[in-house]
Amino acid sequence: MLETKDLTKVFKKTTAVNQVNIYLEKGESVGLLGPNGAGKSTTISMISTLLPPTSGEVRFNGEDALKHSQRLRKVMGVVPQEIALYEELSAYENMRFFGKVYGLRGKELETRVQDVLELIGLTDRKKDAINTYSGGMKRRINIGVTLLHEPEILIMDEPTVGIDPQSRNYILDMIRTLNREKDITVLYTSHYMEEVEKLCDRVYIMDHGEIIASGTNEELKSILSNEETIQIHVHTLSPAFRDTLSKHGSVRKVTEEGQGYKVIAPKGEDLLGEVFELAKQTKTKITGVAIQTPTLEDVFLHLTGRTLRD
């Protein structure tokens, strides 16, 4: 229903988005995962007809979305990355205003406002100015304002950034409910892979303006299906140990993580014995070893050599 074709945006010198092709089917929940500066917000701005692309296009139901922007705008709800609200006004006033902007009036407007306030759990604080809200509450109303006109497509740019786990779960549950029960199509942007893993049917991984991988969670993880991740905890970090590890023939990648190292290696190789051997040689005391199934985080690491939150 919504797709991009070679979408590209060049700011003076930086190519923020490069030949991006993504699509959303009705009722799907799709994640756009990438580190800071990957070009997620820029992509979303172009999809939501805010920013004209340098080249490429956005198509909505087969039509050029920029030429017929009104059709898309009516059924789309965009949650910006920042809190885009009139902070000196109350939640209620903000909602009434944005509801009217989408053509709601009178009784209908009032019921929608009450329903959404209920949904985001802010009914008892509705009369307070937004600037008196906590971070989590601001995030919730930032989303709520977007739901008033019952959008068919919900585009969210890191809607949970910088809030506590409790508020985050509340928001994630809410989005999941909207997607599953109201059949709302969701495009969800984040750099938290757990969120995307939990919420989305399909995921695009973006880095340096390009889509570097895409597919369902399982498909993506199967990129690593021939590999496994060994987590080694050590008493004191030892560069020598790390060195010998990475020089080992069947080790793909070694990264330092916390009080230890993360080793990616092909499955089936009996590496563990050798790991202990190497530790002994370099006089490193191993305090624990764990073998994990890969996460999206590992996929990203595998693809780029960097962690998502670098």
């Binding site: 007809t49 920042e82 000196e88 989408y102």
Partner: protein
Amino acid sequence: MWTVFKLQWLRLFKQPVLMVTFLGLTLLFVYFLAGAQGTQTISVPTYSEELTSEELNEWIDRLNEEETFLFVESDYETVYDNIRMNETAFALGLTQENYEFLIGREDMEISTLIQYVDQIFVTEMRLQGVETDFGLTGLEVTEFIEIETRSHAAAVSSGDRYRLGIVVGMSLYFSVFSILFLMINLVEEKQTGTWNRLIFSPLTKTKIYLGQLTHYLLAGMIQIGLAFLILRVLVGIDLGTNYLEMGVIIFSFVFAIVSLGMLLMGIVNTPQQLQVVIPIVTTSMAMLGGAFWPLEVVTNRLLLFLGDLMPIKYGMEAMVDTIVHDHTLSQLIVPLSALILMGILFMGVGINLMERVSDN
């Protein structure tokens, strides 16, 4: 469009501090610079070397019958010294059948003073002539024909014009401040993202701009209107009764200023920078445009030319002409079209710059 318009009012009512402050400043400044002076009469030291003190007092009483000036008894030596020390600007000297002025320096009031004294003298001399010719005493003048003077021009002293210039100039100066500061809202909206929320909503860009701009336009007009109303009712400054003309001038002026605001925001696009730029622009415009002192005192060609480019100059000119000379709209066509043209030009360039910035 009206949704956006109404929202801006709601926001303004929630945070009216800015507007109220500038209104207060207008009143304060006008009151001290012009209002207070307006009620204070100018005193004229009066002396005579020929008349007795009684005769002199009689004259002084006669001269003080109208309250334009306050004539105070003095003597030649004091007056002469004061004028030399530049403590008095002028003094009136009386002789048996004539009068003279001692003038130390040019002053706005002198021509009015001369006119006034001359008029009284002529009347009195006539009366005295009749009295001595016919041997009568205690004659009074009855006016046979009441002539209503419609040409205010002659009756208004340059001092009045100057004072009115300050009243109008100050009111406009502060209103420019508050309109431009209020308009920072628009840039803030672009920063906080509420502007974007509106852009990707079904509202068209034109409607969003129109909603915003009509709000600033109306807020500015109300600000000036309110300032004038208060000045008139509470301070008692005569601002004439040409409401239609004043309304049209206020509208054109505020339109030019709102457009100027758009131009500034096209060039400078963060609220922080605007907070620096606005006072500079506003104040230099007021100086060049003659809101702080009459342009007559400026001789530098370049400054005068720059003054010609300032909307505030045309706003003031048009208002003073309407108040003092009862100029009608057709007589105001030059300043009004200057304002409207500037408005259209600034607005066009401003919106273009703004859109280019957000597109890059």
